[in-house]
Symmetry: C2
Subunit: 246 residues, 2 copies
């Protein structure tokens, strides 16, 4: 038994795509978060209500499979459903379908709730999750851990956090980390490879004015290419990820 | 007499807004360009058709008045209309309305047509503009020139062009220049001021891997604040703008 399903349609716009006409991962992520926000609003638990209660949703982990990335002007349907939760974590699934019902992308996200004043994770309040109808299950769901960056062959690029990287939670929006991790791979790599699967783990927020190091290493085998990524600052470790490409 | 009108609705999404919940200027611009692209498609002259013909629309100038910026979750309506054209320039107006019909934002843009192989502006082909129904008028429409940056008090920030800054025309999307011009003003300024009017002039394209200098100066008077902006590289001058704030 899982939670209530919610569906929403979206037309992929030209500015959500890279120059190859494929939707960018960061824009797809924005759209998924938008749809889960719509479900929350429909259940009376939109951002405004959460703000009044002094809470904010934060994303801790993503794992995804891309069968085919949506393209410019494509009409897609996004389905989302809370799967289960425990004392600190909420698990939510997303499915992106083409107009003819083909499954294009699958995403699983792990959310937590932050106290906006303390800026700390809190125990999940029962009244915040019960409207979604997903069961409480004590255990954790294993999300694959990102592969480690191979320090011997790692490259680094640097990104200073800009005003428009910051969201209403006053920290860097999680879609931006993805842009910095991917951009560090360079144009030659990005325009020739296609993203297949990935796993991303957020550790610590990034704030306006900080400079982030985006470190990456690549592992090529006959079957696949795997890239491993880290986002670091002087304050430590903010995010890790690994992606598999074809 | 002006060209055919085209209208489209848009819901302002959370990732189109800055942390103050107001839509960003660069996202508003993306949405406007999207709507003019929809009109072109409806007239059989979408990007695909233009691509086949070896053409691409490029934006040369913007002038805008913001009465109130749309906010997160607001339902807006965008109306656009080609006003007139001459041998090299096409003038197009945009009006953004609230759900109750209040005029929120007005934009005028100057477009030209680029030959995709030569990467040069060409004389406007009659068959490309006639479907829009706007008249040929020999004269130019005066778009206010941007104020000059005051070199004595100018500040600079630097932006290296990233993979995701590049659009299908293989150069930096014009909305990105705006992010760099505004970001250079800093958080303290941006969160306390509201953009009222502006004028932007594009001179030369920016390509992947270049580093752009975003230079700006501020003029405060009793009534208003005016900021002047330039985007430069070693290759020269790419864009200038000035904005009026309240």
């Amino acid at each position: 038994m899982s939670g209530k399903r919610y569906k929403s349609k979206h037309k992929v716009l030209y500015y959500e795509c890279e120059k190859t006409y494929r939707m960018t991962l960061s824009m797809l992520l924005n759209v998924l978060i938008q749809v889960s926000g719509e479900q929350s609003s429909a259940l009376g638990l939109g951002d405004e209500k959460m703000g009044e209660l002094g809470y904010a949703w934060i994303v801790l982990q993503h794992a995804f499979d891309i069968h085919r990335m949506p393209v410019t002007n494509e009409l897609i349907e996004i389905e989302t459903q809370a799967r289960q939760y425990n004392s600190f974590f909420c698990y939510r699934d997303f499915y992106v379908y083409s107009e003819t019902g083909t499954l294009l992308v699958e995403f699983t996200m792990v959310f937590a709730i932050m106290d906006r004043n303390e800026r700390k994770m809190i125990r999940i309040p029962e009244e915040i999750v019960s409207p979604y109808g997903a069961p409480f299950k004590k255990g954790l769901i294993r999300i694959p851990r990102p592969s480690k960056v191979d320090e011997k062959i790692a490259d680094s690029s640097f990104y200073t956090i800009r005003y428009f990287d910051i969201d209403v939670n006053d920290h860097v929006n999680n879609a931006k980390y993805i842009e910095w991790m991917l951009d560090a791979l360079g144009e030659e790599f990005l325009k020739n490879k296609r993203l297949k699967t990935g796993t991303i783990k957020f550790e610590k927020e990034l704030l306006y004015g900080q400079t982030a190091e985006s470190k990456s290493s690549r592992l090529h085998t006959k079957e696949k290419t795997v890239t491993a990524h880290e986002i670091r600052t002087e304050a430590g470790f903010h995010c890790s990820a690994s992606f598999e490409w074809k």
